[in-house]
């Protein structure tokens, strides 16, 4: 095991880089160049260090690992407590992995106030990693909210024409959601006397209380995920955000919602989770079908991908609340897959936007002829988004559907229609962008991907394919944790008398799902 504070190092290294950027002085050109370089190197080193988390992580151990604990505010039992389990470990890596790619994506497209941009990006990375590794609820909340500040500035300063409106909407929506969470945290603290998440997971809250706490947490995380109908901030934020902002938003920030749902709602409030499961299924199915239809109608490609994100996150919320191994595994896999696929799709859009400065789908066409490399890269991610077997998208959707099928056939049935719709809008988008005649002069003049962009996409293509071809490599890391979560969940439900105390039922998660239906 690592005996050095590897999680703390991963969390705060980006801030150190940001401080270096802060003190850069001199000619504007040189400042910009140095800021980019420092940001890239800092984020790369952070990524390498974060790899040690994976090396030191024991997949067979379902509990929290690499735990670091220091007294912080002892009079309130608040401590600096960090640790990862199978659920969080990949998200930490995803955050550190995407940050250097974001720096690369902004290399040329961001020309104004480069220094501040890179600082915001690195601060954002610190907040995200900090949030996924926090085991103390106050620490968790600090990082969860802290993400808003750099993101607000990223959208508002470097965004598109409607950036102010989008930034406000983004900020206020997510802030409203999370203050409810704050009240829930306080209530839980008063019940347990501790801010330690591990204590809260162990603690059995009264059922009435669980219901209220669950609602508060659900609203907070549903806004972030986002779950229909609390998703309306997302398309605006995405459309106006600069490419790097969209990538971070889709790649990591949306996962905070899913992560919170698992950590707080499922692990801490099992009875309420059981009670509300059907309600979440309805929301998820509506989200999948409705937002897919909305995506079909978009003429702005960024908006289309933004709506498709909501649909994809619908599978996640559905998978989480099936509360069986396949469903939860699938939800995690889907989140991870969406991290890379949607990030890559936003990067692809960024590539087109950098050249033509429009996101209007109709302004493009026939790009496969003059931009073959770009066409191939886009195709990979398009297929991954559709859920073609062999790509990461397939595994997540398949597993969540499988989980849902055991719980409720109708849910699975309706969710499956989302697959068809997803294929429809993505293929339509691809056809309009890449096929047909290359007759628009400005599109004809576009150049193919340069070395920087290829470097940016190569790791994403590799990951999407590895995840699709050999999913176990990713799944193994969290399988034990998920099994542990589900076992705990079943046990709590049996103790509460919500499901039958049949040991046979308990062993096979699939049957437990049936009990849920009854």
């Amino acid at each position: 095991m690592a005996d050095w504070p590897i999680l703390t190092l991963t969390t705060f290294l980006p801030i150190v880089g940001a401080l270096f950027i802060l003190v850069i002085r001199g000619e504007p050109d040189m400042v910009a160049r140095n800021a980019r370089a420092v940001a890239l190197w800092t984020s790369l080193i952070t990524f390498v260090i974060s790899l040690f988390i994976l090396f030191n992580f024991d997949p067979a151990n379902p509990g929290f690992q690499l735990v670091e604990e220091y007294a912080w505010i002892p009079s309130y039992n608040i401590s600096y407590l960090k640790g990862v389990d199978g659920v969080s470990v990949w998200f930490v890596l995803a955050s550190t992995f995407l940050t250097p790619i974001c720096v690369l994506s902004a290399w040329e497209s961001v020309q104004k106030r480069v220094k501040e941009f890179m600082i915001a990006l690195l601060v954002l990375e610190t907040m995200m990693v900090g949030m996924f590794t926090a085991l103390d609820f106050v620490l968790f909340y600090l990082f969860f909210e802290g993400v808003l500040l750099p993101m607000f500035l990223l959208i508002g300063v470097w965004g598109g024409p409607n950036r102010v409106y989008a930034a406000y909407k983004f900020f206020l929506y997510t802030f409203i959601g999370s203050v409810l969470m704050l009240l829930a945290i306080l209530t839980m603290y008063l019940a347990t006397g501790s801010m330690d998440m591990r204590v809260m997971i162990e603690h059995e809250f009264a059922r009435d209380m669980q219901v209220w706490l669950w609602v508060a947490f659900f609203i907070a995380f549903a806004v972030k995920t986002p779950i229909w109908p609390l998703h309306t901030w997302l398309p605006f934020a995405h459309v106006e955000a600069p490419t790097a902002g969209s990538v971070m938003l889709a790649g990591v920030m949306l996962k905070m919602g899913g992560y919170g749902l698992i950590r707080a709602n499922v692990q801490m409030l099992p009875e309420a989770t059981f009670i509300f499961a059907d309600f979440v299924f309805v929301l998820s199915v509506v989200a999948i079908i409705y937002t897919s239809l909305v995506a079909l109608a978009q003429s702005d490609m960024k908006k289309m991908i933004a709506y498709s994100s909501v649909a994809h996150m619908g599978y996640v919320s559905m998978g989480i609340f099936t509360m069986n191994q396949q469903g939860l595994d699938g939800a995690l896999f889907q989140m991870l897959s969406h991290t890379f696929v949607s990030a890559a799709l936003f990067l692809c859009i960024g590539v087109a936007y950098d050249r033509l400065h429009t996101r209007e789908i109709a302004r493009y066409g026939g790009m496969a002829i003059n931009m073959p490399r770009y066409a191939v890269v886009f195709a990979v991610f398009m297929f991954a988004s559709v859920g073609l077997p062999g790509t990461s998208g397939f595994v997540g959707e398949f597993l969540t559907m499988m989980g849902a099928f055991q719980v409720n056939t109708w849910v699975a049935f309706f969710a499956a229609t989302g697959l068809v719709l997803g294929a429809a809008y993505m293929l339509l988008l691809y056809r309009k962008l890449f096929f047909g005649k290359l007759d628009k002069p400005d599109v004809k003049a576009m150049t193919d991907l340069n070395w920087r962009e290829v470097t940016m996409f190569a790791p994403l293509v590799a990951i999407v394919l590895i995840m699709g071809i050999y999913p176990a490599s990713f799944k193994n890391v969290y399988d034990a944790t998920v099994a542990g979560i589900i076992a705990d969940h079943q046990e709590s439900l049996r103790a509460a008398g919500l499901i039958q105390a049949d040991p046979q039922v308990a062993v096979a998660p699939a049957d437990a799902g049936n009990a849920n239906e009854n």
Binding site: S75, F143, G146, L148, L149, Y168, F171, L182, L183, L186
Partner: protein
């Protein structure tokens, strides 16, 4: 032989009062242009007072025939008040010269007001409470109108005086009712009377409500807030900066002491009053500020809102709640001094500007100043990880702990609503383009801004424990049995 009261508990006050006289003499002898010397003398005097205070006796000591009390609660509040005054004096020096109202009486009056505030905090009797309060108020009336050939400033002074006199009247009337029905003005005696389980007569309750109304005036809690925006706007900005912090800290600690110490056992009776003031202040602070264009008025509504949050802790009526209020006020002090430091430095072409639009594009010309302002604004909005979040966190925790769920929920909802106008300032500074650049702030002001910003983030994290512990000790000293 004439009995001599024990003077040690009041040593800091006595020293500061003498120092104020000495500073006055120094000013008189230096004549014109002596302001800077007197200001630095005052800062020195405040520092020495602080040292006397901190090194003084720690336990609870009552002197002057039970009129004056010194305990950890008083010490904590006085440290805040002295800090606020010292920072305000530093902020005002250059400003007064630029506005050509530099007269040596200014720092002397601030010192005298501070003596009054310290006496308020240490009051152990309704009479000494009133005397301290009036000493503070009289000095404040004068400095509010310090820019005497400027109509708005005179108006501010007059308004503050008339309404202040009204609130003093309410306070006195309430005190006389309490005296009439409970038979004493001494806090210890009153506490004993009510602790004995004597059902309070209606007269006492009405008396408490009047006392509370008088004090609510001083902290500008709704519905007694009307003077605040006008006085904030009209007074010279350096005075506004002072008004926003030191008297607020003094008045709210006095409020806590009055309600918790003598009337602590009547919690069910006064809780609803505080509950209402708190909710109304939070709502008004959040909504009325939205349409402001003058930044000083905005800060006035912001302070009304902030007082509402502080009152959440008082409404809880528990030790936790008091501790929360004290921490809240410490953070509030840093945020406001810093924000007013920036407002003081808003100058274009040698004259003061006060419109929010003048902050447009600040991040281009003065990135450090804009960053500091963003820190203060996000902190006031209560966005973590900035210190302002912890202020709200502790008072809400106390409210939830005391079962005041509705209060906590209204609190978080209004804090989101108030977010709207706080982030509007961030928007102006970061998203908009420069219209006319502001001048560079003076170095002393810049140091104060930088120090307070660093305190809000990240130094607060380093000091979280010491601050919390001393606030806890202060709160505990109030809840002695």
């Amino acid at each position: 032989m004439l009995p001599v009261p024990n003077l040690t508990p009041a040593l800091p006050e006595i020293f500061l009062a003498c120092a104020a006289m000495a500073a006055l003499l120094a000013g008189v002898f230096r004549g014109e242009g002596g302001t800077r010397v007197v200001s630095w003398l005052s800062i020195g005097a405040l520092l020495v007072t602080g040292v006397l205070l901190v090194t003084g006796p720690t336990g609870r000591e009552v002197t002057f025939s039970g009129l004056f009390v010194n305990d950890s609660f008083a010490v904590f509040s006085k440290v805040l008040i002295l800090t606020a005054t010292a920072l305000s004096v530093i902020l005002s020096m250059r400003y007064l010269e630029q506005e050509q109202i530099s007269r040596f009486e200014y720092p002397v009056l601030m010192l005298l007001a501070t003596v009054g505030m310290m006496a308020m905090v240490s009051a152990n009797d309704l009479i000494s409470l009133y005397v301290g309060l009036e000493l503070q108020s009289l000095s404040l009336y004068v400095i509010a109108a310090f820019r005497r050939d400027f109509a708005k400033s005179s108006e501010a002074g007059l308004k503050y005086f008339v309404l202040g006199a009204l609130s003093s009247g309410l306070l006195l009337y309430g005190s006389s009712l309490v005296y009439g029905f409970a038979g004493s003005t001494n806090f210890d005696t009153l506490a004993t009377v009510f602790r004995a389980g004597e059902t309070p007569s209606l007269g006492v309750i009405i008396g408490i409500v009047f006392v509370a109304a008088g004090l609510a005036f001083k902290i500008s809690a709704v519905p007694f807030h009307m003077w605040t925006p006008d006085v904030y706007e009209g007074a010279p900005t350096s005075v506004t900066a002072f008004f926003a912090v030191a008297p607020k800290v003094a008045a709210i600690t006095l409020f806590i002491r009055v309600l918790v110490d003598p009337f602590g056992d009547l919690l069910p009776q006064w809780q609803q009053v505080i509950w209402f003031c708190s909710v109304a202040s939070m709502i008004l602070g959040a909504l009325a500020a939205i349409q402001q264009t003058n930044i000083k008025r905005l800060m006035a509504y912001s302070s009304i809102g902030n007082i509402g949050y502080a009152l959440v802790g008082l409404a809880a009526g528990t030790e936790d709640g008091v501790r929360g209020v004290l921490i809240y006020m410490a953070i509030y002090l840093a945020m406001n001094v810093g924000a007013f430091g920036i407002i003081l430095s808003m100058r274009q072409n040698g004259r003061m500007v006060e419109s929010m639009d003048d902050l447009k594009g600040l991040s281009r010309n003065h990135p450090a100043m804009a960053l500091a302002m963003a820190v203060f604004m996000f902190s006031m909005a209560g966005v973590p990880p900035l210190a302002g979040f912890f202020g709200k966190f502790y008072v809400f925790m106390a409210a939830v702990n005391a079962g005041l769920f509705a209060l906590a929920i209204i609190g978080v909802v209004t804090s989101v609503a108030s977010c709207y106008y706080y982030i509007r300032i961030v928007k102006l500074m970061y998203f908009d383009d420069v219209v006319e650049p502001l001048e560079k702030p003076g170095s002393a002001v810049a140091v104060v801004i930088g120090a307070t910003a660093l305190f809000i983030f990240p130094l607060f994290y380093v000091f979280a424990n010491p601050i919390l512990n001393s606030a806890a000790a202060a709160a505990a000293s109030l809840f002695r049995m």
